[in-house]
């Protein structure tokens, strides 16, 4: 079932030329160097609980603008977007701070959404990317509140230190890098469907980002979750663990639902 946001033009109440919409979208689904502003913005959001809801909706305005443009972006803009996506995915492999890693993934996935411009269900794809990143951000917040930061250099060794938190962290990480049945998995496939027959370089960029995300996530996992540790602190409460587990089950169900809608 295709969900078209045809009434968007009415909502903004003004007629917008496609090029203007695309140019505005370079700020909302930011392309490099405008992406620096987004990263700087997230640096300033120090309240951890705020980041999750922001991430949930962060792609929506940009996706709405691209939908309003009602067509594919010019080739040079699409190339610019894909370069941004790959650039941030590549840069993410050297990161040690998980909060910053999430923000880089936000920029990379936001830029990838440009590949869905001019195709159906862009809003659903935006939701598909936003949901797992929001849940990942919740987990980062939990770790930061408990240990002060979620950084590889802290040698947290979460798996032996707090197994429940570690388990949730792994699930969140896998969801963020678009593993099945996370909503972003289906969003990625939908983007490949959009581009596979029209642009080989764009398709390769999408797949390349997917690969680089996995690489960086595995480095984050190895740095945060594993390693020898002899002390043990208090794990998160059972109720909190269950609550988060329920969120992930819900995320999987939403993923399947979005997948059915998009594919």
């Amino acid at each position: 079932m295709a969900v078209r946001v045809v009434s968007m033009r009415c909502l903004v109440g003004a007629k917008m030329t496609p090029l203007f919409a695309f140019l505005a979208a370079t700020l909302l689904l930011p392309l490099f160097p405008f992406s620096i502003l987004l990263v700087a913005f997230f640096e300033r959001v120090n309240v951890g609980r705020l980041r999750a809801p922001i991430l949930l909706v962060i792609f929506m305005p940009g996706a709405a603008l691209l939908t309003i443009a009602d067509g594919p972006p010019p080739a040079w803009m699409l190339a610019w977007a894909m370069l941004t996506a790959v650039l941030y995915a590549w840069r993410a492999i050297a990161l040690q701070d998980v909060r910053l890693w999430v923000v880089f993934l936000v920029v990379s996935s936001g830029a990838l959404l440009w590949a869905g411009a001019g195709h159906d269900n862009l809003i659903l794809k935006a939701l598909g990317f936003g949901l797992p990143l929001a849940t990942m951000s919740m987990l980062v917040d939990l770790i930061e509140r408990r240990f002060g930061a979620a950084h590889i250099a802290l040698e947290l060794r979460l798996a032996t230190l707090a197994p429940k938190l570690s388990g949730l962290f792994v699930v969140a990480l896998l969801a963020a890098i678009a593993m099945p049945v996370s909503p972003s998995f289906f969003a990625m496939i939908a983007l490949v469907v959009d581009q596979a027959s029209t642009s080989v370089p764009t398709t390769l960029a999408i797949l390349g980002c997917w690969l680089l995300w996995s690489w960086s996530a595995a480095r984050i996992f190895a740095g945060i979750a594993v390693g020898p540790r002899h002390t043990r602190t208090q794990d998160i409460a059972d109720s909190l663990a269950l609550l988060h587990a329920a969120v992930f089950v819900g995320l999987g169900l939403i993923g399947v639902l979005l997948g059915a809608l998009m594919l």
Partner: protein, 558 residues
């Protein structure tokens, strides 16, 4: 009966869920639930296989709704049986083997999930379901290999495996999407039916079967550790032994399974089959060379698997798809047994190597040849003729028209060389009664060849009952007859003169030149360093990470 397959898939999933929820109450006894449910799964798969052997007609699809659709065909019947069987053995073995390890419950949950993912992977008839299962196998293998959360090396090698699997996942995604674009459906039976009606579809300006076949082959190469994407396989020994057994016995075979599943595509993609043949052959040779030059026995086993996987892919490349399935099952059985016995053997060998100083030992290990010899020329001729005759007769009685299949002829060469090698080894051995020794070895060889031919032929009839389709697969893998004849003649000449020279040189003790000795040493050094492939990748990874870090610093981490 049609509901058997969904139940078979659901049981390991249910086992994982029950293990998770009951572990707090039952402790380590919770693994009993897993064993019982996997045993039940195996029982159901046996019934399913039995009914398939008793006579299914062609392929059937079980549709539960949405993406939950499964193939009910001979391929899925035999594979679910094999997976459930291996999984049951690994479950039973792990109950005691993992008893003292931390993360016991977690291990069983992952093992159950892996079983479910593999079962879905081999039976899914919906491309999205196949993709989901395909991805899950990679993730679960990563988690299983990294079971020891305190071991840095286990984690590092698990990461290598994960990355290579991801590398292989992506061509598969693209292949699925291209098929969806071309036919407007994710249903594999529908896609295959429409492709058979009109294979002249294009994708990216090229014939669709070739493009999709190539992409699927790339995925299969990564999963089955073909050369250049093989580096993960020998280094996965840091994981628990049951995981090594499951991986070498089952998971690594996924490439062959995938290629068989997409067989209707490869009927129209002969050039991709040729590529498979080359890659498989090269991998088989490199894997065998590396196996022989490793000092670490587990690494050596890993490279042995790589060589076998190369052979399996090569079999697909010559059109012998069903033979690849037979090969992967046979290899899985012996390699799984080797791994599960490895720990006990290593422990026993620490006390006593148990190797008797007999002829086989002195020849194979000490490289000492027998003092008394038979005439070298007669032996060389005997070596060349006897295996060829046994192989020819065995195949002729199974299927008279086997010489029409180019792939079968190519594979016969491997059998010929193996037989010749066996007799050459026997020639060097001291024995009180040489005639008896030769007779026993020849009878063993004949039994293996006859057994292999009969079983392989029946596998072919079982998995691909349509004779036209079987013929089409071999035809797709074939090359122009004149090229093939020249190739076969050249290959036969090389083998004949090679063996004659081997006997002659060995008998006359021909001196070797300095430069050949130096060349050999160089080659050995390169092989013992695994041809530096892993080191090149590590260097590349360091450059990529270092470059990203420098750029991040330059841009103020924004």
């Amino acid at each position: 009966m049609t509901l058997f397959l969904p139940i078979i898939v659901a049981l390991p999933l249910a086992s994982a869920v029950l293990t998770f929820f009951l572990s707090a109450r039952m402790g380590r006894k919770v693994s009993d639930i897993s064993v019982v449910l996997i045993a039940l799964t195996f029982a159901l798969t046996t019934l399913e296989l039995w009914s398939a052997v008793r006579g299914w007609e062609g392929r059937e699809e079980i549709v539960l709704g949405g993406w939950l659709t499964f193939f009910r065909d001979p391929l899925s019947a035999i594979l679910v049986w094999v997976i459930a069987g291996f999984s049951l053995i690994v479950h039973v073995y792990s109950r005691r083997y993992m008893a003292d390890e931390p993360g016991y419950v977690r291990f069983f949950i992952f093992l159950n999930l892996m079983t479910a993912a593999l079962l879905v992977m081999v039976s899914a008839s919906h491309l999205l379901l196949l993709l989901i299962a395909w991805h899950f196998v990679g993730v679960l293998l990563y988690l299983l290999l990294g079971q020891d959360l305190e071991s840095r090396s286990a984690q590092r090698y698990a990461l290598t495996t994960f990355f290579t699997y991801r590398l292989g996942d992506l061509p598969m995604v693209l292949a699925a999407v291209l098929l969806f674009h071309a036919f407007g459906t994710w249903s594999m039976p529908e896609i295959f039916a429409r492709l058979a009606e009109g294979p002249e579809v294009t994708a990216l300006g090229l014939p669709l079967p070739s493009v999709v076949g190539f992409l699927v082959a790339l995925s299969a190469f990564a999963r089955s550790a073909q050369f250049l994407v093989h580096t993960w396989l020998p280094y996965t020994m840091s994981g628990p032994t049951p995981v090594s057994a499951l991986m070498h016995a089952g998971i690594v075979n996924a490439g062959g399974v995938l290629i068989n599943r997409f067989a209707p595509i490869y009927v129209h993609a002969g050039e991709v089959l040729h590529l498979m043949f080359v890659v498989g052959l090269f991998t088989a040779i490199v894997g065998s060379v590396l196996m022989l030059t490793q000092h670490d026995i587990k690494k050596s086993l890993g490279y042995s698997t790589m060589g076998q996987m190369g052979f399996m892919i090569m079999e697909c490349g010559v059109g012998a798809f069903s033979l690849a399935i037979y090969h992967l099952i046979a290899h899985g059985m012996f390699k799984g047994t080797l791994f599960l016995n490895a720990a006990g053997i290593i422990r026993a060998a620490r006390n006593d190597d148990g190797v008797p100083a007999e002829d086989l030992y002195t020849f194979v290990v000490e490289r000492r040849a027998a003092r008394q010899r038979r005439p070298w020329l007669a032996m060389a001729i005997f070596t060349l003729i006897v295996p060829a005759v046994i192989l020819f007769l065995a195949h002729y009685f199974v299927e008279q028209a086997f010489l029409e299949k180019q792939g079968a002829v190519i594979l016969l060469f491997f059998g010929w060389m193996t037989g010749a090698q066996l007799i050459f080894a026997t020639y060097h051995m001291r024995a009180e009664n040489p005639l008896r020794l030769f007779s026993l070895i020849l009878v063993s060889f004949a039994i293996v060849v006859i057994g292999y031919s009969v079983i392989a032929h029946n596998f072919d009839l079982f998995l691909y009952p349509d004779p036209a389709f079987r013929k089409a697969l071999y035809a797709a893998a074939g090359v122009k007859l004149i090229y093939f004849d020249v190739f076969v003649a050249l290959l036969a000449a090389v083998i004949v003169f090679g063996w004659l020279f081997a006997y002659y040189a060995e008998r006359k003790r021909l001196a070797t030149h300095d430069w050949t000795r130096r060349l050999r040493r160089l080659f050995y050094a390169a092989a013992s360093r695994e041809f530096y492939v892993g080191e090149v990748y590590v260097r590349f990874a360091r450059i990529a990470i270092g470059g990203a870090g420098r750029l991040n610093a330059l841009l103020g981490w924004r």
